[in-house]
């Protein structure tokens, strides 16, 4: 494993480096928790890493709460998210996904942007952000900004919509203003309680009115398909239902709709059968014991 490292301190430097390296082999390095493992497995020739660790730009580094949205810089770490009380209160799904990510040491350096750009189907925070219908703010070397819905951001296993002259700057999560109840969690299935790559995961974020009627709904599954999947029909099924009055039959119908998005593989961590069975079980389990 051999590579060059360049470390931009400002966004201007960063964009200049991106422009300069367009014809060369380069990768962005943020927390490095995935990148270094990947390069150990598959070393690359003449690789330069644009190291983002010392980039001094609030758009990349901060969690900003603005009236109707949460804006998280791509370089915000999992531990930053897991220590944020606002996120804990308003977006439990994101909070839990960060808290259950890797180990404390990995969370200290792993970034939310890295979790998205790695585009692993097992991404923890990526799965939560999918359930939250996040939007990706992308900056180009020319300084232009475009916004891409997270569902369009993932294009395949470890593939994203990013072009070579672009970088993910921040992630925007819209907030439902008029909600009485939030039901939101990240369910991660692994063999043990921490240091796990999800065998399967389910992220949900539901908003309900004063009658507990579901008025807003986002559900995503991880490690169940080539990319993280947003479960649109399952969300539509829930709209208008009373959260704590779901019958067993309804819960199972809902879980069956979730499974329509699952096309898991069998690998050394679990079989496809296990992934589907567990996904069905945890999906119907969302509505149990929630009075």
């Amino acid at each position: 494993m051999d590579f060059n490292v360049i470390t931009p301190r400002t966004t201007e430097e960063l964009l200049a480096f991106i422009t300069e390296y367009q014809d060369k082999n380069f990768r962005f390095g943020a927390g490095g928790t995935d990148l270094i493992l990947e390069l150990k497995k598959q070393p690359q020739e003449n690789l330069t890493i644009i190291n983002l660790a010392q980039l001094n730009d609030d758009s990349f580094n901060s969690i900003i709460i603005d009236g109707n949205e949460l804006r998280t810089g791509a370089l915000v770490t999992a531990n930053n998210i897991a220590a944020d009380f606002y996120i804990q209160e308003h977006f439990p799904v994101l909070f839990q996904s960060a808290l259950q990510h890797g180990s404390r040491q990995i969370r200290q350096t792993a970034t939310i942007g890295g979790n998205l750009c790695t585009a692993s189907p097992a991404g923890d925070m990526a799965c939560a952000l999918m359930a939250l219908r996040a939007q990706c703010e992308i900056l180009s070397a020319e300084g232009n900004i475009r916004i891409v819905a997270i569902e369009k951001f993932f294009t395949g296993v470890r593939k994203t919509d990013l072009k070579k002259n672009e970088i993910l700057r921040s992630i925007i999560v819209p907030k439902e203003v008029n909600s009485n109840h939030t039901y939101s969690d990240f369910i991660k299935i692994g063999t043990r309680s921490s240091m796990e790559c999800a065998i399967v995961s389910l992220a949900y974020h539901l908003e309900a009115d004063q009658n507990n009627e579901i008025v807003q709904c986002g559900i995503a599954i991880g490690s169940a398909a080539p990319t993280i999947k947003f479960c649109k029909s399952a969300c539509e099924y829930l709209m208008g239902k009373i959260f704590n009055k779901m019958t067993d039959k309804e819960s199972e119908e809902f879980a069956s709709l979730i499974l329509e998005y699952a096309s898991p593989i069998s690998d050394i961590r679990a079989s496809a059968w296990y992934r589907k069975q567990v996904l069905f079980n945890i999906a119907k389990g969302i509505f149990e014991n929630k009075d």
Partner: protein, 319 residues
Amino acid sequence: MLHVGGGAKIYRSDGCGTTIKFDPYGYLTILTGSTEIGQGSETILAMIACEELGISPGKIRVINTDTDVKPWDVGVHASRTSFVAGNSLLGAIKRLKEKISPRAAQMLKTDIDDLKYQNDLITSLKTGEAVKIDKVIREIHFNEPNELCIESYYYEPGSEFQDKKYMGNVSGTYAFAAQAIEVEVDTYTGKVKVLDVYVAQDVGKVLNPLGLSGQIEGGVVMGMGYALTEELIVDKGYILNPNFHNYKLPTASDIPKIHFYPIETLDEAGPYGAKGVGEAPLIPTPVAIANAVSNALGLEFNSLPVSPEKVLKVLNRVP
């Protein structure tokens, strides 16, 4: 559960050698055949030397890693180290005292049965007079007949080498243990959570209480990995998970409450009545966990690990 507790003759020898050197400043070097791999033998050996020679732990150095100078030993296995290395060290110290005591008795004008080794001194119980132990060593070195304060001892347990059918009274002593384990099984995910582990174990004489607890807890956790998560996955001779990313050891967040009840006995064969404790807490754990899962679900598990997938398959009657 019955297991060997030190001195198990799975090879022709289960011996351990020790050489000790007392220097003229009162510092003791122990060259032991045994090896420290985290089980605490280094501390145990220093404690034994403190107990026997009445010197402080800071004056003891244990050399257990350098095979250029270490005497013979069979290896770290079979819960044997405290037992064989302890006995071996006691043998060496006995020989050394046979050299020190007559000279100290001469200096204190008393006989050797009247001596007490304590606080870096050798004291006459009758007169209360004392001499510094390092001064006695210097006397031995510098005055006729000018001897070195170095002794070696080789301890070989009296156990029998197993016969061709792997039978026989193979161990110097035996360890006995029982465990009761409570688990919680998530029937949606198949995950087993170990809640409480109760360990009752015959540990002989406790030499180092904290070290003992560490050995018991470490053994239980290792047994938990064996029971629930650790699996070497092999396909056509290739190991598919040759790393700790996919070969899953339990982590700190999986550790249950471990309630340890040491059953203290005096084992005739062991140093001060101690016996081996390291493996006994590991062996009943997977069995107890698998039985607890069976008890919770009314279904049997006859292979390890009892992985979430295996549990869910059994629950769903999937072959």
